[in-house]
Symmetry: C2
Subunit: 350 residues, 2 copies
């Protein structure tokens, strides 16, 4: 591995305005930057140099309105809301509170947006240093919250010239076990290390990591975008309250679908029956039945009631829907077939 | 702030067995450790020294069974499951895949559990160095996955003698704005920085961070437990699929509750009506109604059908339940009152 790292602050960069040449400013402030260094650059100064600012009223309701509007335009989808906090996925794919829009370290009439494409920003900075004869890795970093843990840490929004992931696949430990933990997000760890020397209002927007293995620094590296997990493959793509509400809405909308004909896990069927047992009317009886040939279903249930009054029949209808929701929670698809003396549910796996 | 940090690997510690004196071993391997250093110690060696090992069969189904059993005993609650991955909250409160149980860097007949109380472990290590005349901060670290981002990073499971959070509350930036980002989880950033020099199978289980501000190192510091977010205050306390299934089960179980009498957001009512519009039978009509005085409800809806056959009445019952689920998704509580010619839903906020 390495003999150790140094994490060095770069001071004296000063205020950044749109059009500033960051490479020139960083190189002037830190003429000691050397081949093989990794530069961790706060996204804020990248945004400012790139003119990613939006004018907003300095205060009052007009400011709040403008801020909401900017948030909406930076948002690809809302992930979770609680009180004043809105966590969204940005158009880049980052999951961040308020889409990373920031009102600090800028005058009160502007908001700072994230760089339009942080990987491109990082590549341009790397190319700028390369033009000065320096081969450096570049990370564009920002501060993010996390699920499950209090406090914030810095992570990489963009990267160039440095492998984002250190992959241990195929390595074995001294006991001959293949490693279970394989993919370390090293650019996030480098961004975190850089934050430790940067501070929030000290005009230290750049840290230099010295001593990182040269094997990790190369032109062909992926950008930080490889760390983005899309919603489909993310087990936490929605807040818990939002996903719970989604389940309730799905229960409201349960379609009478053509059935896919996949087998049902008997344990899942039992769990669904148990979940709903106490919620059904005492007049309702659920009995297993044969699936109708050709329906695609692999099992069926029959619901009847001993209360055949209008009220009893309405209750039976509601009970069938309760059972359908409980089955849907277990990924069992249902087709509801009411007839004069009860309701038949055709069931199938999903 | 700081003039920079050094992150130094500690080599030559060798294999650790239960009862080993980690302080002695670390001090012998790194006699250069000095006052004010922060030691980042891989939890694996802490667990081994503390004898947190479980014997398991070396292979086969018996091993899988034993592993499942160990996981269950380390689990306080299951957070999310997908395929072979189980993410749980441990009894300590950590949210980790497989409860942090590890089969690497140990012989094939043992699994390594997390330390029983990593903050206590860190305090004991700090006290051990103190007894040798050295005032060091100690972090016990482990590798964790995250929501939303690929790859893993190291974080702090335990800490002693170092403030876990750097709090910027009350600070203002050079533009006079109060800082919005206030609480940095610095021990997680230090753990991440340490990982960069440790590697996974290189027998470098300890890193030393030198140059961290002395103001952050003090006896009275909180442990890493302050970074734990409990399920109630966590917006991501459950996986999306699990929370969605929870919503579906809640729809199955919707109770006819006494109503709390809280006001209803008209926009929420409209959203619920819109969500269910396409799912209701064409024979069903929903009309606003006055809440029954004294019921506690703040609004009511009346559902009727022009199909008063048994099948039509069952459909009306199911439709009322669909609407109740859609209202529940908007946090509107309902009481269902079926009568001979329709169903009355008394509504209330939550």
């Amino acid at each position: 591995m390495t003999d150790g790292l140094e994490i060095l602050p770069v001071r004296g960069i000063g205020h950044i305005v749109a059009g500033d040449d960051l490479v020139e400013l960083i190189a002037a402030a830190a003429p000691w930057i050397a081949d093989g260094d990794v530069l961790v650059v706060t996204s804020k100064i990248v945004s400012k140099a790139e003119g990613r600012l939006v004018e907003v009223p300095a205060d009052g309701e007009a400011r709040d309105d403008a801020r909401r509007e900017v948030l909406a335009s930076e948002t690809a989808r809302v992930v979770a809301r609680r009180g004043p906090t809105t966590i969204v996925q940005t158009h880049h794919g980052f999951v961040m509170a308020a889409a990373g829009i920031d009102a600090s370290n800028v005058d009160k009439t502007h908001l700072v947006l994230l760089p339009a494409d942080p990987d491109t920003s990082a590549r341009q900075l790397r190319a700028g240093f390369r033009a000065r004869g320096l081969d450096v890795g570049v990370i564009v970093s920002d501060t993010m919250g996390r699920a499950w843990r209090n406090g914030l840490t810095d992570v990489a929004l963009g990267a160039a010239g440095i492998e984002p992931i250190r992959d241990h696949r195929g390595e074995t430990d001294p006991y001959g076990n293949e490693l279970e933990i394989t993919q370390m997000a090293v650019i996030d760890e480098l961004a975190a290390a850089g934050e430790l020397v940067k501070g929030k209002c000290d005009q230290v927007p750049v840290a230099v990591v010295r001593g990182y293995p040269r094997s990790g620094i190369r032109d062909s590296s992926d950008g930080a975008a490889v760390l983005l997990r899309d919603a489909a493959s993310d087990m936490f793509s929605l807040g818990t309250a939002e996903a719970r509400a989604l389940g309730l809405r799905e229960a409201a909308q349960l379609p009478d679908n053509a059935l896919p004909g996949l087998p049902i896990d008997p344990a899942a069927l039992e769990r669904a029956a148990a979940a709903v047992a106490d919620a059904l009317s005492p007049a309702t009886t659920v009995t297993p039945a044969e699936a109708i040939t050709g329906s695609g279903a692999t099992a069926a249930l029959h619901l009847t009631t001993r209360d055949m009054t209008p009220i009893g029949l309405m209750r039976l209808g509601a009970d069938a829907h309760r059972l359908r929701a409980a089955l849907a929670a277990e990924s069992i698809v249902t087709l509801s077939l009411p007839h004069d003396d009860g309701i038949r549910l055709e069931l199938s796996g999903h």
